[in-house]
Symmetry: C2
Subunit: 201 residues, 2 copies
């Protein structure tokens, strides 16, 4: 039975993760220090090193958790997305997640982020596959599904960041939802002008 004595924590690894997430919510990414995490977990400053190689490793774990939660948030918004309309709904859910958890979202995407963290790679490729699945269902006639889903992800991701950075008004959830929705759909309803102007390959 763990947690009998006070010397050993029991599950410090998980406690650190939880503390890190709380600090992120409260003080933003600036407040996420190893020492603060240790303090909150009620443990000495260097104890976390037994479970994380360095600060970056902790951050990577937090990010990975964020990816999983984002994925869950999206599937909750639309459990079985298969139409352009579903796609728009998922897109707004994506942006909403970013605005509801700004510090977490920044940790997930705005860090230097070495690509050697398997946890991160696995989690992001899950999201990528999810988007690809929706696009495949929503636009069955598409030749290059990968390219299109990349475009969609990039569009939504960019919208999230521009809102997050205050470059676009995000005062009300409705305003954001409307913009995301219309942005996603607008790009699909412009064909006449474009086909006339750019009839290449």
């Amino acid at each position: 039975m763990p947690q009998a004595g006070a010397y050993h924590h029991g599950d410090l690894r998980a406690a650190c993760l939880r503390a890190a997430r709380e600090l992120l919510e409260e003080d933003g990414s600036a407040g996420l220090s190893l020492r603060a995490v240790a303090r909150r977990a009620g443990v000495s400053a260097t104890a976390p090193y037994r479970h994380y190689a360095d600060r970056g490793a902790l951050v990577s774990s937090v990010a990975a958790e964020g990816y999983r939660e984002l994925a869950e948030h999206l599937t909750t918004a639309r459990p079985a997305p298969s139409t352009p309309d579903d796609l728009a709904a998922v897109a707004t859910a994506y942006v909403r997640f970013a605005l509801d958890h700004p510090a977490m979202f920044r940790v997930m995407f705005a860090e230097p982020c070495d690509p050697t963290s398997e946890e991160r790679v696995a989690a992001t490729s899950a999201i990528s596959a999810y988007v690809r699945g929706i696009v495949r269902d929503a636009f069955p006639g598409t030749e290059d599904t990968d390219a299109l889903s990349t475009s969609v992800w990039a569009l939504v991701h960019g919208l999230a960041f521009l809102h997050l950075d205050g470059k676009l008004d995000s005062s009300t959830p409705e305003a954001v939802a409307d913009r995301v929705r219309s942005s996603v759909l607008a790009l699909f309803t412009l064909s006449p002008a474009i086909r006339k102007a750019a009839p290449s390959d």
Copy 2:
């Protein structure tokens, strides 16, 4: 005549900016510390405070310079853009800028960034206006130019970030250029499937 004596630097403000940019190129955003800037400028650790309120102010100035250079980079790529093809070229230039100056790009967009820096606001609105101009010329028949240009900016911005974060292959400039180009254009060439699937308003 400045720079006669050694006590006063002459133009420490500019020297700090230059030093900050060099450190950014060399060591990434992690190496950008006020103390390192001061060291490189050959000045005491607290001297920069005479010209910048705090670290954030320095970073904001660097970011503002980055915005201006990005704008210049884009206009150099296509001095008078007016077609979808031009738009694609400008888009690749945008992503290329991000990949060529990753640390700078992150400073520009991935920082918490209080919206109270006039320098930043002015510089970003310039880019926003530039994109809007291209879109207006490239798609004259569009009702809501603002919405469309927002979408375009978001798409390109998202592509830049996904490449930067290693979520998309950026091993060769050609691969990146092809993907950006096709991503931007692909979204304009899907009309049949979409109009059939989502015939709303």
